[in-house]
Symmetry: none
Subunit: 407 residues, 2 copies
């Protein structure tokens, strides 16, 4: 039996409020350099401690044992979508993050300007990291001159620095395609190809991109240093059942960074724009309490400092969030889950596969007799080690959103 | 590879004795109201403590994360049958519980007498809760007058109070059907319909039930207050591989309440009738030690008091069982598992999805260094958090019933 179908069948819509608070890359590992404490263990977190003294803990496998997820699979899992079943290309995520409204079947590419020599060899993959204003000018030029390729509409949107996004809206297109990026200097831009050679739609998309290059490169030929561009993560927007349909809740997103807004939008969450700090995000949650049933609140800095390998800053980021928590708790949700989308150990200076700790607090969560929310404590929590895609099901259960199965 | 096929292939029949001791709804959660102790943690259990000091612990997910099971799925899981694969309707369980010998394909309905007004509107869904004797008289009347509908045999058996069961034994019948029950007063009895509209067999069963109503209602027309009846959980007996075949053990059931006897019978266990108290059940186990290899011993009261939200009584029920344990241990089984079929937290006043704790004791279980058998302790036990359907496989392994897999 299909488990998602069973969950849907058992779902009882109600007025419970729930919050998924994601400290991006929260999970970490205990190493000798840091006296065998993780940032979460070393941080002073009176408010998280108080929650831990009412909640259940566990650890979550983001995708599968040993698999390190990007932000896409990490968040899709948290939203209850199996990241192996629902794969989203980076181009799509970037496009969503820049606020482009994608439609099913749109093919999106993450692009950035680069420098080419006279023979078309890439000499600087980032075109000297041109300013955002320059990027915007170049994108405006391309957009003015190239509105269509064949029957496909072309939408170009500048991002930060040398980055931009290209969207192709046409019939019968499909990704993923290989990258138009040699991934190092000294080589020419490779032609894109369908990842699945048998897909006629991907073949059509690949031809389209080659035609786009043929039309666009001459327009940039005289520009310096940005006389070329690379394209990566070329994929189409997959058909994903909307969050609201799937879970019978009105979802709202409180994220600051584009990618996370994009991921939320991908599953149909409404974006609440404006807040820049975690305190502002929590204040907005309080203000919007009645307008949504499920709040996705995203906090970037734990991941950012983990990527830098900056233990002190990651610890401080946790403490900063903890200090703002009373705002969230002033309007307490029925179910609160605090976790990461994956681990970003300082020692790894990047995402990792280590199961992230999760804290779940509700009237029915029970208390695991753990005084604090930590990786080590979570190891002996009542939730055990489980696949991240089930977190939302546990949240729904704690919100009494499921009928009994069988007599 | 099919895992059940692998287990079968590796099974070595031997003379090991094992006991599955089910404290129904045992699992609970720690809440502030009860000083953050569960009934199992608060109970004084010297005999369970002694077992805990020799055994392994863990927690079991009855069906899937967040899913709250009824008794049917809960027990099928404990018996090693995937509750998602083997679904059993309430009518079937009730029929089995009343001692009816079902055959594959029989369609059973849980029924009860009700009161109808002159227009056929249900005015009392329980017919004033008539006495069992009245129910028996009415069932005898119906059974005498209606032996067949078309080519299908009709078997009617009275239960307690206003409840009874109707069994249809014919060719080409199938459930599940929608309920012939408006589920509240003030409405007429709805016509039953196949849940799967495409099933010709279910359509035939639905027509049969409408004909049964047409034949039966006139016989009750003059009765007061029971001049009508409702039918629910209409389903057919699924084909389930027998326990003995599947596990190469002779299984015996020591349950007091009908539903659990019915569930045991469904998988082909032999019912040992007579014992009413847990001490009597344990005594009977000792007396029958040589006649079975696997004893399912069911204790209802932990669930019953959990449903009432009566913490003190649930705790006392655990202590009562503990006090009787020395009888069981006077003839020690090779493998003993103590667990619940699900959790019934006092705070929830009903079944829940929280993984139930399990204690497994055998010569090869090892000791997890836990002094007591508790939910909190079980969180860090060597069995981890696992699907309940694997418990019997662990029991078999502990009984040395599996050959090595591979060289």
């Amino acid at each position: 039996m299909n488990l998602d179908a069973l969950y849907s069948e058992l779902t009882l819509k109600n007025s419970a409020k729930m919050v998924l608070l994601v400290l991006d890359g929260l999970g970490d590992i205990a190493t000798k350099e840091q006296n065998y404490l993780t940032p979460l263990e070393a941080a002073v977190t009176p408010n998280l401690d108080a929650l831990a003294q009412q909640g259940a803990q566990g650890r979550m496998i983001p995708v599968a044992p040993g698999i390190t997820p990007g932000s896409g699979p990490g968040h899709l899992g948290l939203f209850g979508y199996d990241p192996l079943e629902f794969q989203v290309g980076r181009g799509v995520i970037e496009a969503l993050g820049l606020g482009l409204e994608l439609r099913g079947g749109d093919v999106a590419a993450r692009a950035n300007f680069c420098t080419l020599d006279a023979k078309g060899i890439v000499t600087d993959r980032r075109a000297g990291r041109i300013e955002t204003e320059v990027c915007e000018e170049l994108c405006a030029l391309l957009a003015a001159k190239i509105k269509k390729i064949g029957d496909a509409e072309v939408i170009i949107k500048a991002g930060k620095g040398h980055r931009f996004v290209v969207l192709f809206r046409g019939k019968g297109l499909e990704g993923p395609l290989t990258d138009a990026d040699p991934h190092r200097e000294g080589l020419a831009i490779p032609q894109v190809e369908p990842v699945d050679k048998k897909s006629a739609k991907a073949k059509k998309a690949a031809e389209l991109i080659q035609k786009f290059y043929a039309a666009a490169l001459p327009l940039l030929a005289k520009k310096k240093p940005a006389n070329g561009f690379l394209m990566r993560g070329i994929a189409h927007q997959p058909e994903i059942p909307t969050f609201q349909e799937r879970y019978q809740m009105r979802p709202g997103c409180l994220a600051v960074y584009p990618m996370y807004k994009g991921l939320a939008q991908l599953v149909g969450m409404t974006k609440m724009e404006g807040p820049q700090t975690i305190a502002e995000q929590f204040e907005r949650y309080v203000a919007e309490y009645d307008n949504y049933d499920y709040f996705f609140i995203h906090y970037k800095y734990t991941d950012m400092y983990g990527e830098d390998g900056n233990f002190a800053a990651k610890k401080k980021a946790i403490e900063d969030l903890d200090a703002a928590l009373p705002i969230l708790l002033s309007k307490r949700p029925d179910v609160l889950a605090v976790t990461g989308d994956h681990s970003t150990p300082c020692a790894a200076k990047g995402h990792s596969w280590h199961p992230q700790p999760v804290l779940l607090v509700s009237e029915l969560s029970g208390w695991d007799k753990l005084q604090r929310f930590t990786e080590t404590g979570a190891n002996s929590g009542s939730l055990g080690v489980f696949d991240a895609k089930f977190l939302i099901r546990l949240m729904q259960a704690n919100a009494r959103m499921f009928d009994k199965f069988g007599a």
